[in-house]
């Protein structure tokens, strides 16, 4: 977008676009990642994407009506929440649980705070955190990527009856892909000390959430958004950089125990979280210094949870903690006003 010069009092250079424009571009940037996930995991991933997004949009409508507000569906923000949420869930996540996640994301993550722009935490992650705590087994049940019959049949868990337990998937998964263990790269590393190769990560032949495997696509989409000025490139840079540095430090301390930085960057939801979730404008700091602190915090907390926590993956909680600290970070990193003296704040 070329900067437009507006004929009125300053400022004259209009940066970026309206909320609708930014949001629409984020949706467009997410589509290739969603498409790759459908290609990898087939019909189940497609059903999950559609259901979760529809649940978010429906909840947004419902709460707008209850609050007597004009519809905010045209700003695409509920669609983004839905897409991101679906991409962060296991591809064969039961649809009814996905719908619960979508509803909670909008209700607890957004509507409760007053709608778009007022939310304290990323709504998609609020929804995911809820289902992670509510359905800990289902959210760690994975299906193999590139199963041959992925375009002809759904995973048995997808159409679980509402409120009911998903069926055991191990027999189906083993028959779908020989030697499938059902463990994510992070879990294999943590419990069995087996490292996944970078090639597997780059081709997407790993067990993971629907949108977590396409590192290259995520970086390309993020790069496009950053180039158009719709995304603060410093946030993903700070997160990925600090995570890599932390990983490097631990590897130097004990190479036998801790994996290399590349594994840390490519595994789990770090890429997706850093580029699309932590960079949410309403929930990240606005000061330049604050942005770096925020990103570094998320990167380091992610590595800490992965290495020393009970869970295998920590990106979600790291970003939520970062979101919660954003007002504080903003406050302590306010730039000094010209002429301001020490100890006095305007």
């Amino acid at each position: 977008m070329t900067p437009r010069i507006e004929l009125r009092t300053s400022p004259h250079v209009v940066q970026g676009g309206s909320v609708e424009q930014i949001m629409l571009h984020v949706v467009l940037a997410l589509l290739p990642i969603a498409a790759f996930s459908v290609w990898q995991y087939g019909l189940s991933a497609l059903a999950s994407l559609v259901t979760v997004t529809l649940a978010c949009i429906g909840s947004e409508r419902l709460f707008n009506r209850l609050a007597g507000k004009p519809g905010t569906l045209t700003d695409w923000s509920a669609t983004i929440t839905g897409l991101l949420l679906a991409l962060s869930l296991p591809p064969a996540f039961p649809l009814w649980m996905g719908a619960v996640a979508g509803f909670v994301a909008i209700a607890l993550g957004k509507a409760l705070f007053g709608g778009i722009g007022y939310n304290v935490m990323n709504p998609a992650l609020v929804g995911r955190a809820f289902v992670q705590a509510a359905f800990p087994v289902a959210i760690t049940t994975w299906i193999p990527a590139f199963a041959p019959q992925r375009f002809s049949e759904f995973a048995p868990t997808t159409f679980t009856a509402p409120l009911m337990q998903p069926p055991d998937i191990s027999a189906w998964a083993k028959q779908a892909l020989d030697g499938f263990t059902g463990a994510t790269p992070l879990a294999s590393w943590k419990f069995d000390n087996v490292l996944t190769t970078p090639t597997d990560f780059l081709t997407g032949a790993v067990t993971a959430s629907a949108g977590e495997t396409s590192a290259i696509l995520i970086l390309l989409s993020g790069g496009y958004l950053a180039a158009r000025g719709f995304l603060d490139w410093r946030i993903p840079a700070a997160i990925l950089g600090s995570a890599a540095l932390a990983a490097l430090l631990f590897q130097w301390l004990d190479p036998a125990r801790y994996p290399d930085p590349l594994f840390v960057l490519l595994s789990g939801g770090l890429m997706l979280g850093a580029v699309f979730m932590a960079s949410d404008m309403a929930t990240s700091p606005v000061t330049p210094k604050g942005v770096w602190i925020y990103g570094a915090l998320i990167g380091v907390i992610t590595v800490m949870i992965r290495y020393f926590g009970g869970l295998t993956e920590g990106v979600m909680y790291a970003i939520l903690i970062g979101n919660a600290l954003t007002p504080l970070i903003d406050q302590v990193t306010q730039p000094k006003l010209f002429g301001q003296t020490r100890g006095k704040r305007a």
Binding site: P136, V137, G182, F191, D192, G310
Partner: protein, 228 residues
């Protein structure tokens, strides 16, 4: 009603009145407490005894009576009052004919959220652990609490190898938890898939407890078998 009228500025209370009030209230409360304590003591003791007995009988099927003991380097005594120095508590369960069925003991280790406390049964003749029950835990519902119900996990405790070495000082093989589906030896505990941390806590707790209790118990097993 005097309490409803606007209170006049209160007259100074004498120290005696304060002490008198507190003294009277404390006495009344003390009497109430002692009365309740005395009247409920028997029922509470009975409840506890029944709960313990039920837990022990659950891990030792076929048992008809049980008795708690302390075992220490100086010998075995019935568990009344404080344990002797270095003493460990265990329960001996007998069948209807008075034959020693097995001994049971409590074990515990840090799980995912808090201590996982379990009760296990040890068969001295076969030198195996052949019973298992959970006493208390705070593990995640739906994941960690599968140690109570998971069939595959409970199968570990049909004949878990707990042999002592010839000198009788330690277990020949330490009992340990292994990844789900990787059990190869009789002294390994096959973890529940997805609940590895809790399963390993159970294994560690039993290993620690059996490693201490069984060597102490070994010289007294024959005596226990004879005693009614």
């Amino acid at each position: 009603m005097t309490a409803l009228t606007q209170p006049a500025p209160p007259p100074a209370t004498s120290s005696l009145a304060m002490i008198r009030t507190l003294g009277v209230v404390a006495t009344v409360c003390g009497v109430l407490l002692v009365l309740t304590y005395q009247n409920t003591l028997e029922a509470i003791e009975a409840n506890k005894r029944i709960a313990l007995q039920r837990a022990v009988f659950k891990v030792i099927p076929g048992a008809a009576t049980m008795q708690a003991y302390y075992v220490s380097p100086t010998g075995v005594v019935e568990a009344n009052g404080a344990p002797p120095p270095g003493g460990l508590k265990f329960f001996a369960a007998r069948d209807a004919a008075g034959q020693l069925k097995a001994v049971a003991a409590e074990a515990g280790a840090m799980g995912y959220a808090d201590m996982v406390r379990v009760l296990y049964a040890y068969d001295p003749d076969r030198q195996v652990i052949n019973g298992f029950g959970v006493v208390a835990h705070r593990e995640t519902p739906g994941i960690g609490d599968k140690i109570i119900t998971d069939r595959g996990f409970l199968d570990n405790f049909r004949a878990l190898d707990a042999r002592l070495n010839d000198a009788g000082t330690a277990l020949v093989n330490a009992i340990k938890g292994v990844k789900h589906g990787a059990r190869q030896h009789a002294w390994e505990i096959d973890a529940i898939s997805g609940a590895t941390v809790t399963s390993r806590a159970v294994a560690k707790g039993i290993n620690d407890s059996a490693g201490k209790l069984l060597p102490l118990l070994r010289p007294h097993i024959e005596k226990l078998k004879e005693a009614p």
